[in-house]
């Protein structure tokens, strides 16, 4: 039950978390997942992460570049577009307002 609840929370905010993880510069799939895992959000598997990256790319919020590597097939790098940065600011602020409301109600409920 706890794991299911966390999964549904993450589903609602993963696109914003991905955008936020790119706010300091470009990155690629593995590094994005690692950044989120290191932040305590658990392991985001490829089957969950890449569909989100694809949607953000198709929506014009991310730009991509494929770079060949000396070893292996190369990597697909993602960076925020201007629209992506604007979306992150706007939608991020909305999420934080929502989080504040949830926090206020839960805090009040627990203190009774």
């Amino acid at each position: 039950m706890t794991a299911d609840r966390r999964a549904s929370w993450l589903k609602g905010v993963l696109d914003l978390l991905v955008l936020a993880s790119l706010s300091e510069g470009e990155s690629y799939g593995y590094e994005i997942a690692k950044t989120l895992a290191d932040a305590g959000l658990g392991q985001i598997k490829g089957g969950t992460l890449y569909p989100v990256l694809n949607r953000l790319e198709e929506a014009g919020l991310l730009a991509t570049e494929f770079r060949a590597a000396e070893r292996g097939p190369g990597r697909r790098y993602y960076r925020l577009t201007e629209e992506g940065r604007r979306t992150l600011e706007e939608e991020g602020a909305r999420w934080l307002a929502f989080d504040e409301s949830v926090r206020a109600v839960l805090t009040k409920g627990r203190s009774r």
């Binding site: 569909p51 694809n54 097939p73």
Partner: protein
């Protein structure tokens, strides 16, 4: 047999596994036993423990593919990589390998995407290091079988949105994929074992007649060793061939 499956069904129901999932699972297991001809308790272990394991897997998969298709299949070691990549192109993602050695797969209904697979020969001790080495390229572990470790990678890691499948083909009707190489290997092994037995048996009988237990034991051990060495040689040749092909 039905007593075993009745208990398994009841235990899975108690564990909260959906009835439709229980029906599919039990059908799968019955089909497997029909092929193998084994006893359910010997094949799967006690019903209570097996139900606990199946319920845990069902819960994990429910979180990973709430609204997707599920398909379980198997292939021999000669053809498994080819089949994995073939079905990966159709959107099948391996979630794990069950205790029967079958690939447990799911496919998203909303956004099916292409997957690629690789198989590595690795000891349990070296598995974590290998996983760590492959992770930056997007490979994730998706199951182990004896010395084989299987890895999957979404094609989207390389090609982005093009990896999504607009209209995936229907679920394959088969669940077992054995290659001609497996039958060839089995035939050669059988012939060699038969030739050795026919060669050694008269000698053993002769030795028994001479009442020399040391010679008898030596011959039997020698014959058994020959079989093991032959099997091992074929196995090593197979692995070497695979490694050369990867280079």
């Amino acid at each position: 047999m039905s007593g075993y499956f009745d208990e398994l069904t009841a235990r899975l129901r108690e564990a909260g596994v959906p009835a439709s999932r229980i029906a599919v699972t039990v059908d799968d297991l019955r089909a497997y036993l029909a092929d193998s001809g084994g006893d359910p308790e010997e094949e799967f272990g006690p019903a209570a423990a097996f139900a606990e394991q199946l319920a845990a897997t069902a819960g994990q998969e429910a979180g990973e593919a709430a609204s997707g298709e599920r398909w379980t299949w198997t292939a021999d070691i000669f053809t498994d990589q080819q089949r994995l990549n073939e079905f990966g192109e159709q959107g099948w993602e391996v979630q794990g390998i069950d205790r029967l050695g079958r690939f447990v797969c799911t496919r998203s209904e909303e956004h099916p995407q292409r997957w690629e697979y690789r198989r590595e020969v690795v000891s349990p001790v070296g598995r974590d290091a290998l996983t760590e080495r492959l992770a930056p390229e997007g490979w994730e572990p998706c199951g182990t079988w004896f010395c084989y470790a299987y890895y999957k990678r979404p094609k989207a890691a390389l090609v982005g949105p093009e990896a999504e499948i607009a209209s995936p083909p229907p679920q394959p009707g088969r669940r077992i994929f054995f290659s001609p190489a497996l039958y060839g290997f089995a035939a050669v092994y059988f012939v060699v074992a038969l030739v050795l037995a026919l060669t050694v048996l008269p000698l053993v009988q002769g030795a028994a007649g001479d009442d020399e237990p040391g010679t008898l034991v030596g011959m039997v051990v020698g014959a058994a060793s020959s079989l093991v060495v032959f099997g091992g040689a074929v196995g090593v040749a197979f692995l070497v061939r695979r490694r050369r092909r990867r280079r």
